[in-house]
Amino acid sequence: MTVMEEAATRLEREHVHSVYEKIAPYFNDSRYKAWPKVRQFLLEHEPGSIIADVGCGNGKYLHINGSVFKLGCDVCRPLVDSAWSQGHEVQLCDSLRLPYRDSCFDGVLSIAVIHHLSTKERRIRAIKEMARTLRVGGRIMIYVWAMEQTRRKFQKQDIFVPWNPNPPSPTLGREQPTPRRRGAVQSMSECLYSDKNRKVKSTSSMLEKEEMTCSPHQSHRLWFFSRSLDSVFDFGSLTISRSTSRELISTVSSRLGEAEGGKVGRRGRGAGLIEQLSSLFSGFSRNNSEEDVFDSVTDLARSQRDHVNDNHSNSTEKTSVSTALVQECGSVALPDLVSSYQKERTEGPGRPGEKDAGPPGDLKQDSEGEPAAASCLRYYHVFREGELVELIESHVEELHVLYSYFDHANWCVVAEKVQVWNI
């Protein structure tokens, strides 16, 4: 395995697989519903069709359409067990090495899966693997998180997102009594909103309404920006000039230099490099990551200060803004929880059993035995508009994109398997 491959595997193990293993019990909450368009895709298949859900999680799509045969697979044991206990046919496997024959499926689902793969090459491989198992004429539906959300845009594509088992509900809105902090958070949130990037049309008006009623301070959504592994290993195109990346470049160059003439085994050199990378990507509580967030957002804050409202002017102390930056970013529920808002709206306020949002800025959400947010950072590569289509068109000739669209903060593609003739 190459050094990059090793780094990618390790990153995914730490920030995708082990996180899902910890948070699996919470996924059985009815908040996590099937996207209507995915349901439709499943219902459109002829009776007797065979469909695979690659990255099926707890199997929420496996019960749809009783006239087709569905099987699911995932890398997360607790989720797969949960799907099995619902009566579904499931296996444990890796999306990069599917245990299925060529051309055996009429349909394949990949819903919110490949954005967890940490390099472009791995994402392409995953798509190609799924295409391999599709019969000619069969269709695949892929959903990935979009960089461009309805009213905002993630500033970077490679991010770590903490797990929040109790996302705030707009209908339970409870004002937190910390005016100064609220001000700080709102000014920081303003910074993250890039109105000029608001080119994406939402297919759901419900989503827009929710965003307006859910004010920033109620949220505990936060994420840390990262560099993509691709950019780290592509030394020629590194454009970031922060101290941490300079450190990394010099570390890598010196290590490579050592290996040239030295007797250091490849394994030793690679392992050391991976340690270094690992600490950058996973140690969110360390200074490295915090600096990154500061740099990117305070720069933005400076340039957008003119756009900040008057009532936030009393909270311009740099420390309070910085603290707020680290602890609270953004108000909009992330894509996999959008449907939860719809459900809660129909049920009305005061839903029994709904827990408090908790004090703002409390990173260790350890109340009642839930996994601490600090240990549950999920890695995502969020996709730009057109990126998924381009990935398929440029690198997966056996798939022909039929259509693509934006759905609840996801970029979606439906593609058909075509016969490739190699002359």
């Binding site: 890398v75 046919e89 296996q91 055996c104």
Partner: protein, 117 residues
């Protein structure tokens, strides 16, 4: 509940069940259309081999009968083996490498080790 044997038919290289230490048989409503539509996509010889290995062949022919869509008796045999029998504990073996993949709690673990990837 669906049967793991059907999945064998989908696995690469005609993986077949070499052992089953725990098998469960349940009753599933017979839908002849569903079964007959599934048949063309199966690796028939892999399915037969797997069923045989588990001692569940029960009259399943080595080769597909012609005109099976109308053959209720045949379809019922296929239905039983595909939909009603489950391997809860056992293992799948790759005929090429000999590598065994365990099945536990009804779920086959097809994950490869790092050195195998």
């Amino acid at each position: 509940m669906f049967c793991i044997l059907r999945v064998y038919a989908f696995f690469s290289s005609g993986l077949c069940g070499s052992q089953a230490t725990e098998v469960r048989v349940s009753e599933v409503e017979f839908n002849p259309n569903f079964v007959s539509r599934m048949i063309p996509t199966l690796d028939w010889s892999a399915l037969v081999q797997a069923a045989d290995g588990l001692g569940l062949l029960q009259g399943l022919p080595a080769e597909l009968v012609t005109d099976y869509e109308k053959n209720e008796d045949f379809l019922r045999k296929v239905h039983r083996v595909l939909l009603e029998v489950e391997v809860l504990e056992g293992c799948l073996q790759c005929p090429e490498s000999g590598r065994e993949f365990p099945i536990s709690r009804g779920v086959p673990n097809m994950l490869l080790n790092e050195d195998e990837a």
